[in-house]
């Protein structure tokens, strides 16, 4: 086989997909999850990970169907719990590369507790949270990232609750690496995921994504393309912030690497404990 880096993007996708088994996929036309899957696959190829040692773990929801289609060790778990399953895998076998694919409902509502504790624990996982601001699979209910006032099938009069900023949340909880990308900026997203994989410690990447079927229809977006333009027009690369006036930043989402810090990594601390005990140093 040629090395993954030498393949063109289409060949590369085919190289990493379980083509014979599970296509067509379940995602709607215009959904952002497929684009994100492409970015994740390119990032894995860029990091030259041995696919036998890659474990992709997901929870429940549209985004969490991604592991079905990729040719790694794949684990589709219970709703909200993929980070907890992944933590067990990583601690048991630190040599495995464990990547969690989750959504806004999965990671921030039912799984919010596991998310913040994983940040604090600083175990070497990569979490890619595809945030489409709604529950897609169950038919468009409000999620913890539905913006206040926006419409969902359980918030027909507009959502009263304020949305979580997932990057503020994870950075505040102590994640070693926090980044935000958007489906519109697929190449930047690929680089952010690759950086997250290379980061030794807990790495969180939020992907601003679009759900044309529910969020888009409920909130008067005319097409998936219009939703992608919304991403373009409402995000600012964090590198450009210094040159911008405060009023230009009003209501904008920052993309890029938002936190990158060094903390002792959990599995390394544990392996050192085992070595110390074996050597009689403890």
């Amino acid at each position: 086989m040629e090395t993954a880096r030498e393949l063109n993007p289409s060949e590369l996708m085919h190289e990493y997909l379980r083509q014979k088994k599970k296509f067509p996929h379940i995602w709607c036309s215009g959904c952002g999850i497929g684009t994100t899957m492409g970015a994740v696959i390119r990032a894995i190829a860029d990091c030259e990970l041995d696919r036998d040692r890659v474990v992709m773990v997901s929870g429940i929801g549209c985004s969490s169907r991604m592991p079905i289609y990729v040719d790694f060790n794949t684990l589709h778990t219970t709703h909200g719990r993929p980070i907890a399953f992944a933590t067990g895998i990583k601690l048991a076998r630190p040599e495995l590369e464990v990547i969690v694919i989750t959504g806004d409902g999965d990671a921030a509502a039912i799984g919010g507790n596991h998310l913040i504790h994983a940040c604090r624990r600083n175990i070497n996982l990569t979490v890619v949270c595809i945030n489409n601001s709604i529950y897609g699979m169950t038919g468009g209910q409000a999620s913890p990232t539905t913006p206040q006032g926006r419409v969902a099938s359980t918030a027909r009069y507009g959502d009263f609750e304020r949305a979580f900023d997932l990057c503020d949340l994870t950075a505040g909880a102590g994640a070693a690496f926090v980044a935000r990308g958007a489906v519109y900026y697929a190449r930047q997203l690929e680089k952010l995921v690759a950086q997250a994989i290379r980061k030794k410690g807990f790495a969180f990447v939020e992907v601003v994504s679009q759900c044309p079927t529910y969020y888009g229809r409920f909130n008067k977006f005319k097409s998936p393309v219009e939703m992608l333009y919304w991403q373009r027009d409402n995000t600012v690369n964090v590198k450009a912030v210094a040159k911008m006036k405060p009023e230009e930043l009003e209501g904008k989402l920052l993309t890029g690497v938002l936190a990158d810090r060094e903390y002792p990594e959990f599995t390394e601390l544990y392996d050192k404990l085992i070595a110390d005990l074996a050597a009689g140093r403890k």
Partner: protein, 375 residues
Amino acid sequence: MMQGNEAITRGALDAGVRFFAGYPITPSTEIAEIMSVELPKVGGKFLQMEDEIGSLAAVIGASLTGVKAMTATSGPGFSLMQENLGYAYMTEVPCLVVNVMRGGPSTGLPTHPSQGDVMQARWGTHGDHPAIVLAPSSVLDCYVLTVRAINLAERFRTPVILLPDEVVAHMREDVTLPKKVDVVDREAPHVPPEWYYPYDDSTTDVGPLAPFGTGFRFHVTGLTHDRAGFATTVPAEVDRAIRNLKRKMDRFRLDIIQVERVHLTDAEVVVAAYGICARSAEAAVLQARAQGYRAGFVNLKTIWPFCFKLMQRVADTAKAIIVPELNLGQLVREFERAVCGRTQVVPISRVDGEAITPRQILDVIAELARPGGTT
């Protein structure tokens, strides 16, 4: 002298457990505390999770990498684990869940014994599934049945539940542990990765489980799946998947069911019990024998699957079966189902946070053994 919870940790370590994830809860906490000290000494890993849901999730994840893994909890935590317990049944991932029973419902009586989780251990998670549930009645049992639980989990690719009550878990007894125990390791695939099916039941009821990271790259899902592990709604495949979960254990019921029998051959009155009630029952039966009553004793070390055949045979000869339980009558219904009215089944219930005494049981034996006796 050793405590029941400590014996559980010794059994787990000797059976090869090298991963524990848990959350503090009375009266099981000693298990986590001891494992946190002992596991790293043998190269194993201990993890305190943020709740019991995450604990069992981490255990299942670790087990998928080929490591023997367990957790320990009590009532409220066991309730939280039910969804992931179902996930482990469905995905056929071996693990051990210890539920040290305390009084319930809800927060209940954290420091007092109960046997109120017997039906939850069988039917607590949603959907049809098999269950192996073992109940120790002594500190030695805590050790032996933990080893056995882990062996059964690995052999049948299933979660196994160890169900001590608070008294058994906290009591201290003189105990001589076996010097050597038989340890079962899960079967590895015998085929190259391209031929591997993680749920292959074509040649054996329990297909080999390849550890993650060894080149087999398969899919695991809690959705009903085909033999390759991918979700299916094809009726024939769904039927096969669900039925095989049950079949793989049904065929080996006799291997799984373990029951201790004392003085059964000529017994008129049989006391059938598990956990701490079995200790009181044994004492009562021995006293009854000394007083001339033809009493017998059955100690169910395996609660689920239930020993139907044995109880049907007991019903042929005994005129009464007494079932003492620290609940309002849970396992007693299985006895009633087994004997179908052919003999009298008499429950003794206690739910005040105290154990049933031998005296309580002896009084019922004496009443029933009397000519024409009934309660």
